[in-house]
């Protein structure tokens, strides 16, 4: 994460009336919040709008943040609940692995991938394309664990799950990610592993 003032100091400045200080928190976490939102809401415009709403909600509720957990954990919890509420309002199902929409999307992506399979030689492209094919929950748990610097207990809090359930989901998500990578980049994966 970026260097600069710790989150709690920035929050104190904002509570004291320095509204502009909040921009440091937005800049610090915008990529992560946007990435999580994009796991649930595939349309980038909707995702950006929702991510902005998350930060606005967090700002409005800043007085209630007691510092018992990390600010990032609190913020990611707001992000997850906002995504689920958004999908319910739009009457869209939260994607699951067996969802037809996800599979149809995967088929489209797969067709595209086969076309440029030869070009997608880097591990970077493989990993990021494969994670886009996972269900939102699987993609989120992997993102929170590897990029979000969140412990299993914190991830459990964010996703409203038991810690053991998060552990199991993380194991399965990684396995599914590997399976996706093998399915869509079979030759490259064989070469790598």
């Amino acid at each position: 994460m970026e260097t600069g003032y710790p989150d709690i100091e920035i929050i104190q400045q904002v509570r004291s009336g320095n509204q502009q200080a909040y921009s440091q928190l937005v800049t610090r976490y915008q990529n992560f919040v946007f990435t999580i939102v994009l796991r649930y809401v595939t349309n980038r415009e909707d995702a950006e709008e929702l991510a902005q709403d998350v930060f606005i909600k967090a700002y409005k509720s800043l007085a209630d943040f007691r510092g018992e957990s990390k600010f990032s954990t609190w913020l990611y919890t707001i992000t997850t609940t906002s995504c689920i509420s958004f999908l319910r309002k739009k009457k869209l199902e939260v994607h699951s692995l067996d969802n037809e929409k996800v599979m149809a999307h995967a088929e489209q992506v797969q067709t595209g991938m086969r076309a440029d399979q030869i070009e997608a030689k880097s591990r970077l492209a493989m990993v990021n394309k494969a994670i886009a094919l996972l269900s939102p929950e699987d993609a989120q748990v992997i993102t929170l664990f590897y990029k979000g610097e969140q412990s299993l207990e914190e991830i459990a809090q964010i996703m409203s799950m038991e810690t053991n359930a998060v552990k199991v989901r993380l194991h399965r998500a990684r396995q599914r990610l590997k399976d996706k990578m093998e399915k869509h980049f079979s030759q490259e994966v064989r070469d790598l592993y």
């Binding site: 937005v26 994009l38 950006e48 930060f55 606005i56 700002y59 990021n128 990029k147 790598l192």
Partner: protein, 163 residues
């Protein structure tokens, strides 16, 4: 095998388990191959997982919106605990008052007999013949059912989330 290896790779295995797994990796080829495979997956994710970036105007849009809003005061600043305890005290007084009234209306003497006290002969009718008491109890039953329905709805939501 995979679950145990992932715990080992994530550094979450207990010391005794770590020792067992290290030995298995050293002595069993299947364990060694699977360990290398999972380690590579772990490294790939750790090194190559990228975050998406929003538009350049993102921070500016957020700050423009919050310039129009104020931080809401903390709920603990406008919820007075004394008021909450006061309301709780009122309802508890009401409940105990009702219980004491009901006990006073019961004809305990009807239960006395030559063979001792018989609960089945105690006369409760004066409690339930009172119209106000009956209305009060009906209201409580309806409120109780509403709370129970809310509780079940919350539980159903949690089950759906977990599944």
């Amino acid at each position: 095998m995979e679950a145990r290896l992932w715990e080992y790779i994530d550094g979450m295995a207990l010391p005794e388990e770590r020792t067992v797994i290290e030995e298995l990796i050293q002595t069993q080829q299947a364990w060694r191959e699977k360990y290398q495979e999972l380690l590579q997956v772990n490294q790939d994710i750790r090194q190559h997982l990228q975050l998406e970036e929003p538009s350049l105007r993102f921070t500016k849009n957020v700050m423009e919106e919050i310039a129009r809003t104020q931080i809401a005061p903390a709920t603990r600043s406008y919820i007075n605990k004394k008021i909450i305890f006061g309301i709780a005290g009122f309802f508890l007084t009401l409940i105990f008052g009702f219980i004491i009234y009901a006990l006073g209306q019961i004809d305990w003497s009807a239960g006395s007999s030559s063979s001792g006290f018989e609960w089945s002969r105690v006369d409760y009718s004066r409690v339930f013949n009172n119209q106000f008491v009956n209305v009060f109890m009906m209201i409580n039953i309806v409120l109780g059912l509403m709370l129970f329905d809310r509780y079940l709805t919350e539980k159903k939501k949690n089950w759906s989330k977990e599944s």
